[in-house]
């Protein structure tokens, strides 16, 4: 857990500061997710204990909103836009290509833990359609081939850095 200590304070600070004011559940869940990358089982118990909101209610709120995740994420988050403009520009074909390239279905994480694939309703850069985001970088005017290339290059870089990490002296 040592690596995550830097952001941990925010989550615990929020919990500690909680004074029973109503409406704090969603911000608490958001800070938990910022901290862990998802909402683990123990965070639900912890929040429930502090706020006196039953765990079942907390779970109900988590599953209602698409932002919250109950599973850990891959190292890279691939978000493919399927808003109206991107859809008209052929994003359905891109979904197939990307699923095939990464070997995952939408919503899942690849076996090597590198990629998690999502579709989103709109990224708001409709004039660059079709668009995908890989982590914080946006790629526009995609074709099946260019989308595959972007992901393949990323995977290749990952493979290289992994090898370097395994043999740093060599």
């Amino acid at each position: 857990m040592a690596t995550a200590l830097a952001t941990r304070e925010d989550f615990t600070y929020r919990l500690w500061r909680y004074d029973g004011a109503p409406g704090e559940l969603i911000p608490l869940l958001q800070s938990a997710q910022d901290h862990f990358g998802y909402i683990p089982r123990r965070a639900i118990s912890h929040i429930s204990g502090v706020t006196n909101i039953p765990e079942s209610t907390v779970y109900g709120v988590i599953t209602f909103y698409s932002q919250f995740r109950l599973q850990p994420m891959g190292k890279h988050m691939v978000r493919l836009c399927d808003g109206t403009a991107c859809h008209v520009a052929g994003s359905a074909m891109l979904i197939d290509s990307i699923q095939d390239e990464l070997g995952v279905e939408v919503g899942d994480t690849s076996e090597d833990g590198l990629f998690t694939l999502f579709t989103v309703a709109c990224l708001g850069c409709c004039s660059l359609a079709p668009v995908m985001m890989v982590n914080d970088d946006t790629y526009g005017r995609l074709t099946p081939a260019s989308a595959r290339k972007i992901l393949r290059d990323l995977r290749r870089r990952e493979g290289r850095s992994r090898k370097e990490a395994a043999a740093p002296e060599a």
Binding site: Q30, V61, Y65, D82, G83, T84, L94, V131, A145
Partner: protein, 595 residues
């Protein structure tokens, strides 16, 4: 000193504005005293991002489009230092001083009438001094506090004819008067910034480009209805908007525009930001309140209306971003200046987000009553590749498709609903002859079906049944009685749903059935997709000119329908093909096509 300004909204940043800014920052340091570097929000010309503006001392403004770090360097050397305009890269010249050439894109900006977007792309959204130096900039607030009574503010807004810009078009002044008339110890002002329609990004651009105008509008509303506390409910998907809003709120507090005693008037008000967590239904006001209260965002039964019992059971006024951004302009320029614009029942202007198969996609603010054709052709520059203009989709998943034959329809709160679509928040997705209308109806229903909160049975189950029927039709397995069944289900969902999501969810299906019934019949009776879009109803071919014989498609074909020698063009046997589309998505050379 000449100022060089980079457009840094989300669309600019995703096109590479940060790299351009960084390279200009370096140049600015090297050539001290040559120019001042600034940033601004979205000017609306998304199709030419990243944009860089050179603002000369004489007031002339030259906006360059498609700028990369190299071009940025040339702009500094040749234009700023050398005084020579790089005409081939110029997107538009504004308020041209002496010797300024004709802008190449004056059609886009020149046909607009910018009230809401008055400062977007002009001021630095992170500097309150920029906003206060505009004609409205917190002067409207001073007037509302010291020269007007709550009653006269409401009267002014009523007289302006401003109607809610979130979609329903309820008169804003009237809404305020309801909340003002209810006595309570606490009242709330809420700003709906949960812009969930796929294909709409007006509110995001206003929040990123001019956050103070929204904040000022909210404070004036609070003064009018007597509220002490406010919330901005913003999508978590808009991190830049949230950051700029946070900065703007801190600045407003530091300048005494927010706080317990605003400008010494004795009136106190403050605003908090609530981040949404991703639920389309939270655009509905009672669901939005539930979400602020930390619950599942499910709509509540009305009455009681929010003006009586809203957030935390207290009288609440809720408007969207664009509505509040209009308010300071109205207070400073007067109701009559605003009501002089637009049509008789729809006053003022409206911002539209143009997207889809259109040449100049971006944000356009026009007078109410402008026709669809004007927006598509005069401002949007027509269809990409000069294809046929088929339809425009308005109002997002709650709206409908308006065919090009009705292109002369004026956009206002009366005319658009008469076509079966709705004004909505202003998303406008343009479609050409390659878009299949049945598929589009399926796409929207897929969205509303997933986003239904599940409270009302007809919305929860009915949309799923409609989706199943539409999926069947796009696969060529539809039955002719399906069309009547769709209409019947649509009627039932509309009548039996509590909130706007369910009531309007069938609109895309109903409008496409109304205007494109032939297309539905072609899918069902002839097993043919006229737009050649539905995979199950087209044949696949390989362009021998483009195919390099990499064999990738043949390896990916699950039924072995593709044959050919390595390094020679391949062929698809359509008698074996199962139309899965794997060949198209696997080809790196764009050689596979549908017909």
């Amino acid at each position: 000193m000449t100022r060089v300004i980079v457009g840094m909204g989300t669309c600019g940043l995703s096109a590479g504005a940060q790299q351009v800014y960084d390279s200009l920052e370096e140049l600015c340091g090297q050539r001290e005293g040559l120019f001042e570097l600034g940033r601004t929000g979205c000017i609306g010309m998304c199709y030419r991002e990243p944009l860089v503006e050179v603002r000369q001392d004489d007031g002339a403004r030259f906006v360059y489009g498609g700028v990369d770090p190299d071009l940025a360097g040339r702009i500094v050397e040749e234009h700023v230092a050398g005084g020579r305009v790089l005409e081939e890269h110029l997107a538009v010249a504004l308020e041209s001083g002496a010797g300024a050439p004709e802008g190449t894109e004056t059609g886009f900006l020149g046909s607009q009438n910018r009230i809401v977007l008055r400062n977007c792309g002009t001021i630095d959204p992170e500097r309150i001094e920029d906003y206060t130096s505009t004609p409205e900039g917190y002067k409207a607030l001073r007037r509302a506090l010291f020269e007007m009574t709550p009653g006269s503010i409401i009267q002014e807004v009523k007289d302006s004819g401003l109607r809610g810009r979130g979609g329903a078009g309820f008169p804003t002044g009237l809404k305020w008067s309801f909340a003002a008339g209810n006595e309570s110890d606490v009242k709330y002002v809420v700003c709906n910034a949960d812009e969930g329609d796929p294909g709409a990004f007006m509110d995001r651009s206003v929040l990123e480009g001019d956050p103070h105008s929204v904040i000022e509008g909210m404070i004036i509303c609070a003064r009018a209805i007597g509220a002490s506390s406010g919330y901005i409910y913003c999508r978590a998907e808009y991190p830049l908007a949230i950051r700029r809003l946070t900065i703007a709120l801190d600045q407003a507090r530091a300048n005494d525009f927010l706080g317990p005693d605003i400008l010494g008037s004795g009136f106190g008000f403050d605003i908090r930001i609530k981040q949404g967590a991703g639920a389309f239904v939270c655009g509905e006001e009672t669901a939005l309140f539930a979400s602020i209260e930390g619950e599942r965002g499910m709509p509540r039964i009305r009455p009681p209306f929010p003006a009586e019992k809203g957030l935390w059971g207290k009288p609440t006024n809720n408007n969207n971003v664009e509505t509040y951004a209009n308010v300071p302009w109205i207070i400073v320029n007067g109701a009559s200046a605003y009501s002089a614009l637009g049509t008789e029942k729809s006053r003022g202007t409206k911002v539209f987000a143009l997207a889809g198969k259109i040449r100049r996609g971006g944000l356009a603010e026009v007078e109410m009553g402008t026709t669809i054709n004007d927006l598509v052709f005069r401002i949007g520059g027509g269809i990409i590749g000069d294809r046929e203009f088929k339809a425009v989709q308005m109002g997002g998943p709650s709206g409908g498709c308006i065919p090009s034959s009705l292109g002369n329809t004026p956009v206002d709160f009366e005319s658009i609903p008469s076509t079966g679509a709705i004004m909505g928040s202003g998303g406008m997705v343009v479609m050409d002859d390659t878009t299949c209308m049945v598929e589009i109806a399926r796409f929207f229903l897929d969205f509303t079906q997933k986003e239904s909160c599940g409270k009302c049975t007809f919305c929860r189950v009915g949309t799923l049944r409609m989706l199943e029927i539409l999926e069947r039709i796009t696969k060529g397995e539809g039955r002719i009685e399906d069309l009547d069944k769709l209409e019947k289900l649509a009627r039932q969902i509309r009548e039996s749903s509590l909130c706007g999501l369910g009531q309007t969810a069938p609109n895309p299906v109903l409008t496409t059935l109304k205007y494109y019934r032939d297309e539905y019949r072609a899918h069902i009776e002839d097993h043919r997709c006229p737009a050649k879009s539905c995979l199950a109803l087209v044949d696949f071919f390989i362009d021998a000119e483009k195919c390099v014989g990499c064999t990738l498609c043949a390896k990916n074909c699950p039924v072995g329908a593709i044959t050919g020698e390595a390094k020679k063009a391949h062929v698809i046997d359509n008698s074996i093909c199962v139309k899965c589309g794997k060949c198209i998505s696997s080809c790196n050379f764009g050689a596979v096509y549908k017909n």
